[in-house]
Every structure is written in structure tokens, then in C-alpha cells.
Amino acid sequence: MSFKSAVITFPGSNCDRDALCYLQDLTKGVVYNIWHEEASLPQVDLVILPGGFSFGDYLRSGAMASKSKIINDVIKHANDDRYLLGICNGFQILTEIGLLEGALIQNKNLKFLGKNCFIKKKFKNNFNLSIKEDQVLQIPVAHNEGNFYCDNETLKSLKDNEQIAFEYCKGEFSNSEENINGSIEAIAGITNKKKNILGMMPHPERAYSDFHPSQDGKLIIESLIT
């Protein structure tokens, strides 16, 4: 059976096309593009909340999008144990909805950060099955609020329940620091307890084509399909 997926577009989303191409090229299945005002989602295996500046980041990044009409069905989709992936602004939206714990605050140097970063997997889940232990992935980040924060109790539970999917690390020959944005324990991506929802700041949809500097972003979709 072919893999079906969907990408939600909010006003101000700017990685929706990138996510659509990423899914089309890697899943070879049907990919829907859903406008935020639609009331329902088609039955799909994976939904991506893409990056961008939904609603201009007004109020707080992701806050307005979390109240969009389509979100009810996104929550239903996740409650049915299907996959939900939030990338960058999508991760921020997931924390605003409350599907993921913690919050994304401004980067520690208070500046937007657009560069290649390096991550590796921390705990195993269905999104990172194809990634080896200690394998370093090179994937771009582009965010102003990517600094993952939560209280100690939440952090302990994230660890106890093995919800940390990715953490930032140092790349070979790179002279930049390990924890690029100041996240607690260098967290780059987390899942919910059931591990069918992943939020991550790096953009795997910008690292999969032959001409990209890295193709490591493929591994996430490959993990879900195989």
C-alpha cells in the first residue's frame, strides 16, 4: 500500500512547497496540500506542519496557527496513532497546541540562525530507525526561536520516556560550537510519549536532493516508510 501524506499551509508558511517536494520525491505516494481553513484532513499516514512564519509570528511563534480550523483534525489524526511531523515553525505550533511538551524560546545569541548544523539521534523512535547510533547528520537550521526550554520535571520525564529524538552535536572539521542555539541539553527534536509525533528545528526537507550539501534528511522519511 502506498504511503499517503499531507502538508498543511498556514498564511505565512514558507516551507510548505519544500515539504511537498520532499514527500513527493521520497514517498512516491499521494501528497495533499491542505489549507489551514479546511475543516478536515484526508486519511493519510503522515502530516507535516511546515516551517515558516505562520501568521507572521505575531503574538508568539506558532500561537495563532495552533488555533486554526484544521488543527482539530490534526489532533484527531495524531490520536489515531498516525504520524505527525512539525518542522521548525511546525515544531513551535506543536508545542503551542500542547501535543509536544516544552517551548521554543529565542536563540541564546538573540539572532536568527541560518546555517548547516549537525545532529545525532538520542533515543530510538519510528522517525529515526534508519539512523545509526552516533551517526552525525548534517541538516540546515533557519530559526530565531529554536532554543528548546522546559522545566526540570519535564526534562526528566522526556528522558525517562525516551522522548528526545535528536540532539545537536559537533561536526567533523566544523569550528562552530556544539549547542548552536542554547537548547536545554542541546535538544534538537522531541516526540510525544507515544512517539508518533516528532517536532524538530532542523529542516530535513532542505537536505535530500543530490545537489544539496547533504542528503541526510532522507533518513527520516526512509525510517517511516521501511
Binding site: 498564511p11 514558507n14 507572521g56 509570528d57 539572532k111 530565531n144 532542505r206 545537489f211
Partner: protein
């Protein structure tokens, strides 16, 4: 009308007399405002027009030359590339964040107004010396503003330049360039098609921001002006622009629009006058219908430069459909007037005609000046004393000079990979993006050598164009066309006017030789504050293409053991202006030797060889040689654990500037083929050394590899903080 009022509107009394004689009546305040906006330098090019006419603007690939919102070239199949550069200098000095942000917003609108989807931005920014706190404030604000706007709307920033020099201390420069992709059969122009078409207002509501922005941009500043002028700076909202862009592109793709014009400088005045003039028609607009953010007078509405607004002409039958689409994007939309056959621009407010002017007088009768200019004086030759200059000292001085260092602090604040088509990110010899869904790529670069142009405006401009050309060639990108941004001080000074005239002449000569016509551009004059004129800064934005992204050259070393070759002609020490300036051998502009004449035939011949050797896969990596010479070029090529060792009779030559200069990396086994290829083409080369692991060696002397690399990459951030 009283004289003070006329002068405050930036018109001379002579100019006012022309208008009055033509109309044979007194002007309304609104009409005075219109002439103030339309007859200033920014809108009507009254000083530069005579000279700009000399530039080559056409060839077989030009679809649209200067005169529209952006120039467009043909890159085969059904693909066109729209691009333009524009300045936002004065606003960025008064309010760096909003000034630079709206500079990006404005240039993006110029691109999507033509039906093109923006696919890349670049910038060219110049500041005073970093020792000044003001410079730090401006640098932070400008970079933040450019990033904020481009990142939010989601267009990758793929390159640019950033220079620090004393004359920009009180007059920083911010030039933003945008590149867009359009289907050749779906280009939109500002010319309306039919009488009776509805004029519609699309986008943000109109507020007080930016009133008199265009005439401010044509003023000489004094330092204490800053606070007074602040209300003239526009405030940008990139979220609104993203909605506007998607909304307009959707309307255009459905063919619901006849023509479109961005409300940029001089807002609704300029956009409606230009529409009328292009179509040889008239416009009738009811200002009471304009969506407002706050109560405004007719005069204020006419001159507001509120951002994220468009004027379009539609057929009445499409009105409902247009409204529906724009509602989806939550964009304000209002029918405010119609196209008439009167050939007059008429604005009504409160059932009264507040403006009723023939289009002719505003556009065709706009003043054009033939200002006096001086030719530069002949330069006396001078020998500089290099005997006290040591190799270590030069290297250390480069590594503590912002102009040479890795500028990732700047471009890491920009999103350069959004849209997923970026092939080469900033910091390399040119930025490259793929045309979505094809194997074709577009390369783009921005450049200027103000010091060269001050020494010799004609030759200096040739060097500037050649440097852009080399930036593209080094990547195996075929250079196609140019956009330019002529930033100068006051043209009322005949010396400055001479620089303007001669550099345009240099641009013409080089562009003709390279077959790279000028398809769009912008002029920014009066860039001087407190009597300090900026160095002449005519910035070149050059665009090129390659049909196959697999053929693109790397600008970074590929393999240890590979040979390093130099192509081109080195300028002697005494003739390398940046070397002399940056090693403190002179600070007096009169002391420099004249520039060596740039041989454009030779430049082209070497470039053709580089392109051919790239296609033959002889070139493993390549970089052009510019300020900082071969040494800096090698440092830029350094990658992973690779370093280099070189041998050269006089090591100071490593820092000299070049014409047609390239560093190329080739495999040992290709050396013979490369050598015979070059000799067949009668091109000399110099085998200077090879790539080695974790070392930098010059004439067998070892340097601290990690120290140099780390300083090169990290010192920029240390120095500016």
C-alpha cells in the same frame, strides 16, 4: 505659491516656473506634492538620464530592459529571469532595521509585480569604520532588518558584499537585489491594456509612513537631521508582503489582472502616473476609496509610502473573482478608479478634483540636467617602499581587517536555504540557485571596488564589472546580464559628476565586451553627510546561468595532493590599490599610481578557458582573485583538513591584485592536458603549489594552520563586538 514652500518640496524655482508656465494657473498643494515626488532625482533621474542612455540594454536574450519594475532575460525553454537592485541608503541610516527591511520588501515587489516568483536575494552593504559605536549599531540593525524581511517571506539570501570604509561613516549604503523566475508567456507589465479598466488597490492600508521618502532620498543630509527625518522611514511587515505576493501571483496565474504596478517610492502618485504614461492613457482615482490606517488628508494619501501595496488594472468582469481570492489571503482590496482616455492624471477627494494634470508634463517634461563635470587629473607615478613589510605582518593585518574576513556572522542571520533550491550558499564566489523542477541553475553576485573607481572612474568601473564576471566564471556560470546601483555623492560637485559620467562609460565598455547588457538599475545621489562625500560606489549585480547543475565548479579545495595553478595577470605591488591602502603605505588618494589599463579581451579569453576547462572536468575547484590577492583566494578555498603550500619568488606578490585572475585546483594526472590546452589557447599559467593536509607553507616557511583558519573564520565576530 510662496518660495519657501516650493523649496521645501525639493523643487528649484526654475523648475517651478516651468510647471506654472505650462499650466498657466496656480498649483494645488496636492499637485505641488506630486511634482515634488516625481521630479526628484530618485524618480526621474534628472542628473543621470543623459548618461544612462549610453548603456547597452539589449541583446538576443533581453526580454525587458530598463523602464519596467525589473529587467527580464531569457534563459531558454519557457523560463525568464527577472532581476533588479535598488538602494535604501538614507532610510537605513536614519532607522537601520526598518530602512533595510523595507529595502528588501521594495525590491521583492518589483520582481513579483511582473509575475515572477522571487527565488533569491542578494545585498551590498557598506559602513564606516567599526571603531565607531554608531557603525556597530548600523551594522546590527541593517543585517537584522535584511534578515527579518527575507527570512519571514521565505526567499533565500544567496550572497552579497559587506565593506567597511571611513567615507560611509555617516552615510551607510544598503543596496538590495532580488532575482525571480517567470514563465516567458506570463510576464505582466505596468502598461494598462484597455480604457475603462478598473484601477484596484491591493494590500496594506495607507498610513503616514514614508511621506516624502523619495524626496528625502534625494537630499543631502546633515547630522542633526536624523531625528527630524525619522517619520519619513517606512515600516515593513514581511508577513503582509508574503500574503500580498501569494495573492498577486495567484491572480496573475489565473489571468485575472491586466497590469500591475508596485506602490514604491512616491506611493500611489508614482504608480498611477507611470501606468498612465506607459499606456498613453489617463487615470481617474477617488482618494476617498483608498483603505486608510488613520485619517489622512488627500495630500498625505498621495505621498504616503506605506509598504506592501499594489495598484492593478482589472477588467470589470473579473472583479468578484479577484475579491474572492484576495479575501482568502486576507488582503485589503478596493476599486479606487478607472483608466480613462483623457491622458490626464485626476485625483478626487470629497467630490473635488484635487489634482488634474496632463501626464505629459509630469513625465515627459521632467527636468533633465547636463551637469558640469571635471575629468580626473593625470596621476604622477610613485614608488612605494615595501622594504619594511614582512610576510607575517601582512597576514596578520588581513586577519584583523573586517574587509578580508569570513562574513558568516552576517549571512548566518539570513535564511539561505529556504525554497530548497539553493546550490551555493553565501560566502562563495557567487550564489547559485536551481530553477525549480529543472536542472538549470542561476548564479548571481554583487560587487564594487570604490577605491579603484575613485582612482580612475573609467578603468575602475571596468575592474568592477570584470570582478563580477570572474565571480560567475569561477563557478562555471555563463554571465548574462547586469543590474546596477549607482551610489554617488552630490552631482553638483563637478568632480563627483565626473566620476558618475566616467564610471558609466566604463560600465558601457565592459558590458559591451562581455555581452552582458544592463537590464535594470537604480541611481542614488547626494550620498554625503557633513560635507563628507562617499567614495563612488556604482554596485554591479550580475546574473548568469548554466543549463546543468552538475557542471558547477566547487569554490573549495577537493583533495590533498592536487596542484594549484594561477591564471591571469598580476598587478604590480605599486599598482595594487587595496594592498597599498590596507598595508598603510598611503592614505592619500592623490598618491596612488593610476590603474593599469584592464585588457577586456584578455579577461574574456581567460574566462573562456576557465569555462572550457570546467566543462572538460579539469577543474576540481576554482576561485577568482581580488582584494587580498592569491593568498586570500587560497584561504577562501580552504576546506575541512586541507591547507596549501606555495612557492613564489617574491611572497609579497601573493597579496597583489589581478586582472583575469583565477586560482584553480587540478589533479596531477591532468596537468599535462591542462598545460597543452592552455598553450594551445596561448594562455600562460603559473603552477604555484599544491594542497596539503593541515598546513600552510609559503616558500617552505610553515605558518600556524589552525591559528590562521580560526582567525579567518572567527575574527569578524570578535572585532564587531
Amino acid at each position: 505659491m510662496n518660495e519657501d514652500l516650493i523649496l521645501q518640496h525639493g523643487l528649484t524655482l526654475d523648475e517651478f516656473k516651468i510647471i506654472k508656465n505650462y499650466l498657466n494657473r496656480d498649483l494645488t498643494m496636492e499637485e505641488l506634492g506630486i511634482f515634488s515626488a516625481m521630479w526628484n532625482e530618485h524618480c526621474c533621474y534628472k542628473t543621470s538620464k543623459k548618461w544612462l542612455k549610453k548603456l547597452p540594454t539589449e541583446n538576443e536574450i533581453v526580454i525587458q530592459g530598463p523602464g519596467e519594475n525589473a529587467g527580464i532575460i531569457d534563459i531558454q525553454d519557457n523560463d525568464g529571469i527577472a532581476f533588479k537592485i535598488e538602494s535604501h541608503n538614507h532610510p537605513s541610516y536614519i532607522e537601520p532595521f526598518n530602512g533595510s527591511a523595507t529595502g528588501v520588501g521594495g525590491i521583492l515587489r518589483d520582481i513579483f509585480t511582473m509575475g515572477a516568483r522571487p527565488i533569491a536575494t542578494l545585498d551590498s552593504i557598506r559602513f564606516g569604520l567599526i571603531e565607531s559605536e554608531k557603525t556597530k549599531y548600523l551594522l546590527n540593525g541593517v543585517v537584522h532588518g535584511i534578515g527579518h524581511y527575507g527570512n519571514c517571506i521565505g526567499i533565500p539570501n544567496i550572497g552579497g558584499e559587506c565593506e567597511f570604509e571611513s567615507t560611509y561613516g555617516f552615510n551607510n549604503l544598503v543596496n538590495a537585489m532580488a532575482v525571480g523566475q517567470v514563465q516567458k508567456d506570463k510576464i505582466f507589465y505596468s502598461k494598462p491594456k484597455s480604457i475603462g479598466g478598473l484601477i484596484v488597490y491591493i494590500g496594506s492600508k495607507t498610513g503616514k509612513d514614508g511621506i516624502h521618502g523619495a524626496s528625502m532620498a534625494s537630499d543631502v543630509f546633515s547630522e542633526d537631521d536624523e531625528d527630524d527625518k525619522r517619520p519619513s522611514v517606512q515600516v515593513g511587515d514581511p508577513f503582509m508582503e508574503k500574503l500580498l505576493m501569494e495573492g498577486c501571483l495567484e491572480l496573475m496565474s489565473l489571468g485575472l489582472i491586466e497590469s500591475m504596478q508596485d506602490m514604491g517610492a512616491a506611493g500611489i502618485t508614482s504608480s498611477s502616473v507611470e501606468m498612465a504614461s506607459k499606456g498613453n492613457v489617463g487615470v481617474l482615482i477617488n482618494l476617498d476609496k483608498v483603505p486608510l490606517r488613520q485619517p489622512l488628508s488627500a495630500y498625505e494619501i498621495l505621498l504616503s509610502e506605506s509598504q506592501e501595496r499594489m495598484l492593478a488594472v482589472i477588467d470589470e468582469k473579473n472583479n468578484l473573482k479577484v475579491k474572492e481570492i484576495l479575501q482568502k489571503w486576507q488582503i485589503d482590496y478596493e476599486v479606487i478608479g478607472e483608466i480613462t482616455n483623457s491622458k490626464r492624471v485626476v485625483f478626487e477627494s470629497n467630490n473635488k478634483k484635487v489634482v488634474d494634470l496632463p501626464v505629459d508634463i509630469i513625465v515627459d517634461d521632467a527636468p533633465e540636467y547636463d551637469r558640469e563635470f571635471y575629468m580626473p587629473r593625470k596621476r604622477k607615478g610613485k614608488d612605494f617602499d615595501f622594504s619594511n613589510i614582512k610576510l607575517e605582518d601582512i597576514i596578520n593585518s588581513l586577519l584583523s581587517n573586517l574587509n578580508y574576513l569570513d562574513k558568516s556572522w552576517v549571512f548566518n542571520q539570513y535564511d539561505s536555504t529556504v525554497m530548497g533550491d539553493t546550490v551555493k550558499e553565501p560566502g562563495q564566489s557567487s550564489g547559485i540557485v536551481k530553477i525549480h523542477g529543472t536542472q538549470k541553475v542561476i548564479g548571481a553576485t554583487t560587487d564594487c571596488n570604490p577605491l579603484y573607481i575613485r582612482i580612475n572612474p573609467y578603468e575602475g568601473m571596468k575592474y568592477t564589472v570584470a570582478e563580477s564576471y570572474r565571480n560567475l566564471i569561477a563557478c562555471n556560470i555563463n554571465p548574462l546580464a547586469i543590474t546596477n546601483n549607482l551610489n554617488f555623492a552630490s552631482p553638483l560637485d563637478p568632480n563627483i559628476m565626473g566620476e558618475l559620467v566616467l564610471s558609466i562609460d566604463g560600465l558601457k565598455t565592459a558590458a559591451e565586451k562581455f555581452n552582458t547588457p544592463i537590464v535594470s538599475g537604480n541611481v542614488s545621489l547626494y550620498n554625503q553627510t557633513n560635507e563628507i562625500p562617499i567614495k563612488p560606489t556604482p554596485v554591479i549585480g550580475m546574473v548568469g546561468s548554466n543549463q546543468d547543475l552538475k557542471k558547477i565548479n566547487s569554490n573549495k579545495f577537493c583533495n590533498i595532493g592536487n596542484k594549484i595553478l594561477i591564471l591571469g595577470k598580476q598587478l604590480e605591488k605599486n599598482l595594487s590599490p587595496y594592498l597599498l591602502q590596507d598595508q598603510n603605505l598611503t592614505s592619500n588618494i592623490n598618491e596612488y599610481n593610476d590603474l593599469e589599463e584592464l585588457d577586456l579581451d584578455y579577461e574574456k579569453k581567460i574566462a573562456d578557458c576557465v569555462l572550457k576547462m570546467s566543462d572538460l572536468k579539469y577543474i576540481m575547484s576554482c576561485n577568482d582573485i581580488s582584494r587580498g590577492g592569491v593568498f586570500l583566494s587560497l584561504l577562501k578555498m580552504q576546506y575541512k583538513d586541507m591547507g596549501f603550500k606555495v612557492n613564489i619568488p617574491d611572497p609579497i606578490d601573493l597579496f597583489c591584485e589581478y586582472s583575469a585572475g583565477y586560482v584553480i585546483e587540478i589533479r596531477n594526472e591532468d596537468l599535462k592536458n591542462v598545460s597543452s590546452f592552455l598553450s594551445k589557447n596561448a594562455v600562460g599559467y603559473f603552477e604555484i603549489g599544491e594542497i596539503i593536509k593541515e598546513n600552510i607553507e609559503i616558500n617552505s616557511k610553515k605558518f600556524d594552520y589552525f591559528d590562521i583558519i580560526n582567525n579567518y573564520h572567527n575574527n569578524f565576530e570578535k572585532i564587531i563586538n
